[in-house]
Amino acid sequence: MPARDLVLEVGTEEIPARLLGDLLGQLAEQARRQLQEARLAHGDLRTLGTPRRLVLLVEAVSPCQADQVTEVKGPPAAVAFDAAGMPTRAAEGFARTRGVGLPDLMVREGYVYAVQRLTGEPAAVVLGQVLPRMLGRLEFERPMRWGAGEVRFIRPVRWLLALLDDEVVNFEFAGVRSGRITRGHRFLAPGDYPVSRAGEYLSVIDRAQVVVDPARRRQLVERAVREAAAAAGGRPRPVPGLLEEVADLVEHPAAFAGGFDPAYLVLPVPVLTTVMRQHQRCFPVEDGEGKLQPRFIGVRCGGRHRLDQVVRGNEWVLRARLADAGFFYEEDRRTPLAALLPRLDGMSFGEGLGTVGDRARRTAAVVRRLAGDAGLSEEETAVAVRAAELAKADLGTRMVYEYPELAGVMGREYAAGWGEPPPVAQAIHDHYLPRTADDDLPGSRAGALVGLVDRLDALAAFHSAGLEATGSQDPLGQRRMAHAIVRLLTSVLPGVALRRAIGQVREVQGLAAGAWEERLADFLLIRFRGLMLERGLGDDVVGAVLAAGSDRLDVAEARARALVRFRSKPAFADLLAVQVRVSGLAGRVASGQAVNPGEFREAAEHDLHRALTAVRQQVLAALDGGDYEAFWTGAAALRGPVDAFFDAVLVMTEEEALRTNRLALLRAILDLISRPADLSGLTN
């Protein structure tokens, strides 16, 4: 029998758009794994899907499971067979216990083996077990139950289609029996569509008005939205993630343009785009200069029949939403700042962690303390302190209450109304940046510093209260905060030292010192190492730099970069040789043990000491100047004198004073070369 194609379609009620992609990925992975475990060879495997169906397509599934041959070792051949080559009772007993016949015994290297052959089952039978098992292995963020059943799935399962060419793969899952029926688009092609063979699935589903390939749906939506916008005299304004979401909210897209009263264009652009996106998943339209137009593009799940009515409905809804937003905007702008700030004192930041108002005051105080480190001018410092005081004020506004994602955006908008200078308004906005791992960094140092301290304040509060993120549990978003902090420290805010900043936050919060501080530093350093890896800096190099105790992450990054470059040069081997030779013994005395040249006996000792003195001046100047490669190049020049020293000198002599002096010399070398990075974990 030739290989056959498999199609599985799990018909469900609407799957959340944000989860569809992940589910299809899981389905493909589970399918590969389960088919392999079931010893069922196959060709190309892929998954497709819509809000109402998860589809698995596997080409060229082997007609049968592969036979499984296992060999079990038995008694020595000399025991199992007599001189005439006839099986003995030992051979018979062994064959019986292994469930094989005597002909299935085989001799190899003096021993008898039982060869067991498991004949593969037909593919349809195997798949009848594999497919439900596969579905049962999918993992959901929040699985659900329905009806009287106990099965959990992403949404209720309503039909199952499973065909191996023209044969139904029989199984039951979630109380539903598999068959050969799919269902068409709810409104364009309602009802059942039988599929005669797997190879026809895609053409049947196409006829049933369902675009089952997510990538193709995205293309269609993208083009339809662009064309609709062009017809409306503009272009769609890109909104991150919206295209993907819209494409997974429909089985068959049709785009349309609608309009709204131009009077609403007085609302800030982010408000308009948020209102359109949030409630209707609509695209804003802009003109050639990027100016927002009183138009929007929506995407319907269906065709073009009576699209006019859908447009009217969407316009009606948007009108009501914009009226609401306009009301919030007017009300908020009438509210003076003096009335707004006290509201923050009524907002708890968390049990025992103070109010949002407390946090604003703490942040302002720490910003003042760290402004110098960050190299802020007096003017920038004043901006940052003011921005810190006001950074959370917009949480008390109606607009942000309604649209939390506009926090910061509205703060900037309203700050002007509160009479604040533009740099303060910008810093209020910027302190939320970066919001995500790939978001923009703040444009101003004032905003960056407020954002840094704001996050450190939160993390210090959580960590000191024992609320650290663990494993997959991070409800407070602490990892995202940590990631933002290390990005800020290595870009916009060089000069701010990590542990010093934590210490300042601790003092201002009035927290007790404790192990939590070092745990918080570690928590941040883990993100730092991750960030460095993303930037192509190996963990051994970054570890070496961190082990040298740098508290400034910008410096650590610069050193790591230099070390990566230096590592590829010939002098690196010399440096490493120096490190290896001196570190073996240097640990026997403490750092700072004085070297007394009067105690030297051998010329090699004098030579090494002179070389060290000369090199020290040179490399420390390089270190001060941030030229780390020059530092290591200089230090590597110690290799000659170090080798000569070890050739001529016995360090571990019986005379204690002499020995200590020699160890002190080695220690001085080790301490010097380890200043920018602890090289002990590195290899050539």
């Binding site: 809000p51 429909v250 708890s348």
Partner: protein, 293 residues
């Protein structure tokens, strides 16, 4: 189609599908879910199909009768089907069609919107249903109610009647809705909106409302001690309403707010547990041969 005609058609539709039509509950609630016809009846194994209109009070949403969309009190059309039937989505779509909507001429979508009611220790998964992008219904498979796992799983359909009516009548302002020939929403409810908004947002005495909360809480507890679940639950609803009033007055700090929510939730859990225990006891008594003939 008039507001009352919408109600009449939904009544007809759901009655034909085996739902008991019950009357709105007579204690203040914030959502149809809070009526004992939902909160208590969805508990336990007994099948249950019910439909009713529920006026819902949300003091913080009061807008003095000036906002075209927001109301102190709105109306939900609530349907509960336990266990959730396999064709529930189609049933729901048919109910929209019974309102004269040709769904092939619209855009109907089920968009993820999960539901959680901390005061009821309840949550569920489902969607907001869009009709040309307007949310007209909250469609939820309950997973837990009163802290108890829902077995079997009930489905709740909560239609927002004002939204639906505004769409069907094509009006922008809720007060322009025609309730029945010659009678508008304004005629019926505007005065109440103004007065209740004024009271809830400005005039309610926080001290008095706070002590009402305390009194109802204590009385709910006392009734529960006597295993009188339904009277106890009425007091829980009154606690919840007084909590909402305090919230609307903006007089609660965050910590106080959390603490009061937890107090309501504790009582709701006790109601659910006691109710379930009573049903289980009744069931075992019924199947006990010694109590039979």
């Amino acid at each position: 189609m008039t507001f009352q005609e919408i109600i009449a058609r939904l009544h007809r539709f759901w009655a034909d599908r085996g739902c008991a039509l019950v009357q709105p509950y007579d204690v203040e609630v914030g959502a149809g879910t809070m009526s004992p016809a939902t909160f208590l009846r969805v508990l336990g194994p007994e099948p249950w199909r019910v439909a009713y209109v529920q006026p819902c009070r949300r003091p913080a949403d009061g807008r003095f009768g000036e906002n075209p969309n927001r109301l102190y009190q709105h109306h939900q059309y609530q349907v509960i089907l336990k266990p959730s039937p396999d064709d529930v989505q189609q049933l729901y779509l048919d109910s929209l069609a019974s309102l004269g909507l040709d769904l092939t001429e619209h855009d109907v979508r089920f968009v993820e919107d999960n539901w959680e009611a901390p005061t009821l220790a309840a949550w569920g998964l489902g969607w907001e249903v869009w009709l040309d992008s307007m949310e007209v219904t909250q469609f939820t498979y309950f997973q837990q109610v009163g802290g108890a796992e829902s077995r079997p799983v009930p489905v709740e359909l909560a239609y927002g009647l004002e939204r639906l009516a505004a769409y069907l009548q094509g009006v922008d302002d809720v007060y322009d809705l025609v309730w029945t020939e010659g009678l508008t929403y304004r005629d019926l409810f505007h005065r109440a909106e103004v007065e209740h908004s004024t009271y809830s947002l400005q005039q309610a005495d926080p001290a008095a409302v706070g002590s009402l909360f305390d009194l109802h809480e204590a009385e709910a507890g006392r009734a529960l001690d006597q295993c009188l679940v339904l009277p106890a639950y009425d007091h829980v609803l009154r606690c919840s309403h007084n909590f909402n009033l305090l919230d609307a007055r903006g007089v609660m700090g965050a910590a106080q707010r959390t603490a009061m929510l937890a107090r309501v939730q504790r009582l709701a859990r006790r109601c659910a547990q006691t109710y379930l225990q009573q049903r289980a006891d009744a069931a075992s008594a019924a199947s006990d041969p010694s109590t039979g003939e």
